[in-house]
């Protein structure tokens, strides 16, 4: 019997049965069953302690793809659960490599189809290289199967480069810059040619305009994607007043799927987990619009940075 419980580990059930049969003693049988139950108790308690959660989204995102050493940036863990929850203490945050945690902020956003939780970490990279983040995860019981599961986000890496100029960037970044520049030039040429063709076709179809008529509007097809946001951003950048900021908020809310007269919470609900970057931009816009006077200039700068990143389509792997 002692050999069956030696340091090798717990005996398997078939072996146990054989040993029990060999001994044929009901006292031994009771003792073995008792010890086995005791051994299983922590596991059962652990699974009972897990919450039952429908987790439909668990993402890890950064607001920067490339940072400099010492520069702070934000990493956001987004979780969507179908349940109406006030807290999500079960969420295990990612571990950081080559970065230091400066603080975190939790936000709970009730949604029609459950609850969204946003945990935003403010971090700073240590040295040149890569700042990496292990996946965030939650241990929970899947209500569909009744089994405990570990839901994980993807891992995240952010490049830490020196300096801010092209010379400082590594050769990979230089190549990417050149490739992007070539692509941009080709796109502009195609757009100009398309616009000229469109204008020539319109001139052929329409009678000659009167001498005092207004000049024709530029063809809308020549504009790039995301035009309303770009236009509102350009207007806000040029004027920087409350009216242009209101217009910009309205455009962002509309993009999120919220109608006129909606609030930030409405826009977040309409957006769901489709576009976390847009949610962040809207949050910054809220601070820039309603924040106290002394906080508005930095908030406005943050908004321009966030919007430039957003319309520039920057994403992090």
């Amino acid at each position: 019997m002692r050999a069956a419980f030696s340091g090798v580990g717990w005996i398997r059930s078939a072996e146990a049965e054989r040993i029990l049969l060999a001994f044929g003693s009901s006292a031994w049988r009771v003792a073995l069953v008792g010890v086995t139950l005791l051994a299983l108790t922590p596991t059962a308690a652990f699974s009972q302690a897990l919450p039952r959660l429908h987790i439909t989204a668990l993402g890890l995102h950064s607001d920067q793809s490339v940072v400099r050493p010492g520069e702070s940036f934000h990493v956001t863990v987004h979780v969507h659960v179908r349940e109406k929850r006030d807290r999500l203490d079960e969420l295990v945050l990612p571990s950081l490599t080559n970065a230091v945690d400066l603080g975190d902020e939790r936000k709970r956003v009730p949604a029609r189809d459950g609850t969204d939780f946003y945990e935003t970490l403010t971090v700073a990279a240590n040295t040149v290289g890569t700042a990496s983040f292990t996946p965030a995860y939650i241990d929970a019981i899947d209500p569909a199967t009744g089994h405990g599961m570990r839901y994980s986000s993807q891992p995240l890496s952010v490049r830490v480069a020196t300096g801010t100029t092209v010379h400082d960037a590594d050769s990979g970044a230089l190549m990417r810059l050149l490739r992007n520049a070539v692509l941009a030039i080709v796109t502009v040429v195609i757009v100009i040619v398309a616009a000229i063709v469109a204008i020539l076709r319109l001139r052929r179809r329409r009678p000659r305009p009167l001498a005092n008529a207004a000049p024709p509007l530029p063809a809308r097809t020549a504009r790039p994607m995301g035009d309303p946001v770009r236009e509102a951003l350009a207007l806000y950048r040029a004027r920087g007043d409350d009216a242009s900021l209101d217009a910009l908020r309205n455009v962002l809310f509309a993009r999120a799927g919220a109608g006129p007269g909606a609030t930030f919470a409405d826009a977040l609900r309409a957006l769901g987990s489709r576009d976390p970057q847009l949610a962040r931009v809207m949050a910054v816009a809220e601070r820039a619009r309603f924040g106290p006077v002394h906080e508005r200039p930095p908030a406005a700068r943050d908004l321009l940075v966030a919007l430039d990143a957003y319309v520039g389509g920057e994403t992090v792997a």
Binding site: G261, T263, E286, F290, G291
Partner: protein, 305 residues
């Protein structure tokens, strides 16, 4: 430095579910206001009030309102001391930081007035002495909306003194199971001294410094004005409602860790601020409507900035 979030968390650990009630109590404390809790018996109204008082380390007094209650039972009285040959003032349960007025509508108007005067003036008069009530001071009153026999309905002017009216509903099935598991073996002991009264006074000062943008202020005013003359409404909310809405919006922002209020703060709090300040006319009862649904429609009809 302790934050009000700590009080909210302590309350959440004591009270199962009822997050709206917990949030409302903490926000009202931050806004230095009084709360009227409406709900069926046994839904943790009293426990929530006790837990709040325990969490901030304040003096808690409970008064069970009954038809034979007298104003002196609340405010206090003067008793002749035979040894000194003088009358001495004995302070009533109103002299506490958190006063729970249980079933406030069971006492006659004279008693209600004595309490509500203390709520408004923050002081009480006992014989020739006018005494200031302790700081911070909050009255949390409960009312059962269904069991109306033998009750004295509070007039609108007195209801207006309450910053918030919170409907305490039944817990969810999951929460109810937790309640049974947790409290069938032992009584609920609230967490004590999570913060101090000095912390509460500091928070209240901080809340008053939270920025309120003029468009958020205008939104609050527009919401209150929209209640006047609306369908099914006999009398709309007073300007005091706009004051309550803006101070509570600041408190909500502060509780969320923001230095500024946003339109969402105002909109989320509007039902609780307006519910007891709006009188509905007979047509609502004839049509089988619900006051909260009317208010929700009014709020939805005012575009947010």
């Amino acid at each position: 430095m302790i934050k009000p979030e700590a009080v909210r968390e302590a309350l959440s650990r004591t009270i199962v579910g009822q997050t709206e009630v917990v949030d409302a109590l903490v926000m009202a404390l931050l806004a230095d206001g009084h709360v009227l809790l409406e709900g069926m018996p046994g839904v943790a109204k009293t426990l929530a009030c006790r837990a709040l008082a325990a969490a901030v380390g304040g003096i808690f007094k409970r008064v069970q309102f009954t038809p034979d209650l007298l104003p002196s039972d609340i405010v206090g009285t003067r008793i002749f001391d035979q040894r000194s040959g003088e009358f001495v003032t004995v302070r009533g349960p109103l002299f506490a930081n958190i006063v729970l007025a249980d079933e406030i509508n069971r006492a006659p108007a004279k008693v209600q007035s004595a309490l509500l005067e203390g709520m408004q003036e923050r002081r009480a008069t006992i014989g020739p002495d006018t005494l200031a009530l302790p700081r911070p001071f909050a009255v949390l009153a409960t009312m059962n909306p269904f069991d109306a026999d033998g009750t004295y309905a509070l007039p609108l002017a007195q209801l207006d003194r309450f910053l918030l009216n919170v409907r305490v509903g039944y817990p969810s099935r999951e929460d109810e199971r937790t309640i049974v598991d947790r409290f069938s073996a032992a009584t609920a002991e609230p967490e004590r001294d999570v913060a101090t009264l000095a912390d509460v006074e500091r928070w209240q000062a901080d809340v008053r410094a939270v920025h309120l943008n003029e468009r958020v202020r205008d939104y609050a005013v527009d919401l209150v004005r929209a209640t006047r003359g609306a369908k099914y409404v006999a009398s709309g909310a007073s300007p005091r409602a706009a004051l309550a809405l803006t101070i509570l919006a600041r408190a909500r922002a502060y509780l969320d860790g923001r230095s500024f209020a946003v339109p969402d703060d105002v909109r989320e709090l509007a039902p609780g601020v307006l519910r007891h300040r709006v009188a509905f006319d007979y047509r609502l009862a004839i049509d089988g409507g619900d006051g909260d649904a009317v208010l929700a429609e009014i709020v939805a009809g005012v575009p947010a900035p």
